[in-house]
């Protein structure tokens, strides 16, 4: 990979200052950006590691929500949210493999917004709020498209707050080689309705399946999905691992499985 400077600040202020350099980029656990840089698909002049920044790690719960620090690793979410938000913990426990979960962070995953990543489904499916050093962004307004988010240059995800649902489940169908979600569906039931978020299926990344949300809000059962047509989403992913029709079918099947297992 091309040469760059590596900075390891210990405060958010120092991290923000370091990110002000031209072509500087934040570094979480590096599980995506390091392979990307090896392929020379990214070549930042400076990487600013957030893992040493105090206050960015840990899981806490209170006021009906679970708050996760932006630099919290997947394994720490899996352990820290196990009793407070089991569906979120289970999602984190099944990202990548153990060594990846020991390094990769929730903030890194959300900021990257890979169209097949798991966390965006939890964030959108829970109506999470993403807090940065500048502002709070609702999940609705955060994910803008393929690898694109509302984050501006120099903006750091400090924490993510997930309202805890009455029940929830995330089910993914893994692409057999990469183990990324070919399709993943997060279903969460709240007092004021059901949310269904789908990852892996659309070129634009995670989206809400509103027809399923309406059906499940009036009848929370797998059978409620039977009568629905497959989601009418533009640009479903079609590649050698599955056609658009196959993915659309998977969205239905996995939504039913998520409801049944929630």
């Amino acid at each position: 990979m091309y040469a760059f400077e590596l900075e390891r600040p210990s405060t958010i202020a120092d991290a923000v200052a370091a990110l002000a350099a031209d072509n500087a980029q934040a570094l979480g656990g590096g599980q995506t950006i390091i392979p990307t840089m090896k392929q020379r698909l990214a070549s930042p002049s400076r990487l600013v590691s957030l893992l040493g920044v105090s206050g960015l790690q840990g899981v806490s719960s209170g006021d009906g929500a679970v708050a996760v620090g932006g630099a919290t690793t997947h394994v720490d979410v899996a352990n820290g949210a196990a009793s407070s938000y089991p569906a979120l913990a289970s999602l984190a426990a099944n990202i990548g493999d153990p060594a990846v979960r020991n390094r990769g962070t929730i903030g890194g995953s959300l900021a990257n917004n890979d169209p097949a990543a798991d966390y965006p489904a939890a964030a959108l499916g829970s109506g999470a709020t993403i807090a940065t050093n500048h502002r709070e962004i609702s999940a609705e307004n955060f994910f803008l498209g393929l690898f694109e988010t509302a984050l501006e240059n120099g903006e750091i995800i400090t924490s993510v707050s997930f309202p805890v649902p009455n029940r929830a489940s995330y089910v993914k169908f893994e692409q057999p080689a990469s183990r990324f979600a070919l399709v993943g569906v997060f279903v969460a039931q709240y007092d004021n309705g059901v949310r269904v978020a789908v990852t892996g299926a659309a070129e634009g990344g995670v989206f809400r399946w509103t027809e399923a949300e309406a059906a499940l809000s009036s009848n929370y059962s797998a059978a409620a999905i039977d009568g629905l047509s497959t989601p009418s989403v533009d640009n479903l992913v079609r590649d050698l691992h599955g056609s658009a029709e196959y993915r659309a079918h998977l969205v239905k099947v996995l939504t039913k499985r998520a409801v049944a297992s929630s």
Binding site: A3, L6, R8, L47, V75, D97, P98, R179
Partner: protein, 159 residues
């Protein structure tokens, strides 16, 4: 830049660039070549080491990120007298390797698993090894070796 770390209980230091991968630092600078680089794309797990008691893929971490950390590599797995450690011995006893290229990573992942879960089931072992690829053994004897290293009876485990 100069970076320092405790590797297998010994203070070690060397020069690294920002882009120097941990796997390269171990192999080329510290001359600890037991850590292997199989795919260099963080899929195969040959390069697994422990940093601050956590298993990581050393090809997907910068050396400077381990500055000041406690690191354990395959060179730290033998007993003090130089004889094979429990997991290594189990790999030998149960033929858990053929070419041996993946073995360093397998042993380091097994060590991390057994610290977390001292008596894992066969399926828990297979699940934990998701990020370690072996192209020789078909995994059966690796799973058997790890079960044996945990002190469980492996007579009925398929091999």
């Amino acid at each position: 830049m100069k970076i320092s770390m405790t590797v297998n209980g010994r203070e070690m230091s060397g020069e690294a660039e920002g882009r120097t991968l941990m796997s390269d630092f171990l192999r080329n600078t510290l001359k600890l070549t037991g850590t292997h680089v199989g795919c260099d794309t963080s899929q195969c797990g040959s390069c697994v080491i422990h940093v601050a008691d956590r298993a990581v893929k050393s090809c997907t971490m910068f050396a400077a990120e381990a500055d000041g950390a406690c690191v354990k590599t395959i060179e730290g797995m033998a007993n003090d007298d130089g004889s094979l450690g429990t997991i290594q011995q189990a790999f030998q006893d149960h033929h858990g390797l053929q070419c041996g290229f993946c073995t360093a990573g397998m042993v380091m992942s097994a060590d991390a698993l057994l610290k977390e879960n001292p008596s894992p089931s066969e399926s828990e072992i297979r699940d934990y090894l998701e990020g370690n690829i072996c192209r020789c053994t078909g995994y059966h004897n690796i799973v058997k070796a790890i079960m044996a290293a945990s002190g469980q009876d492996v007579e009925n485990i398929a091999a």
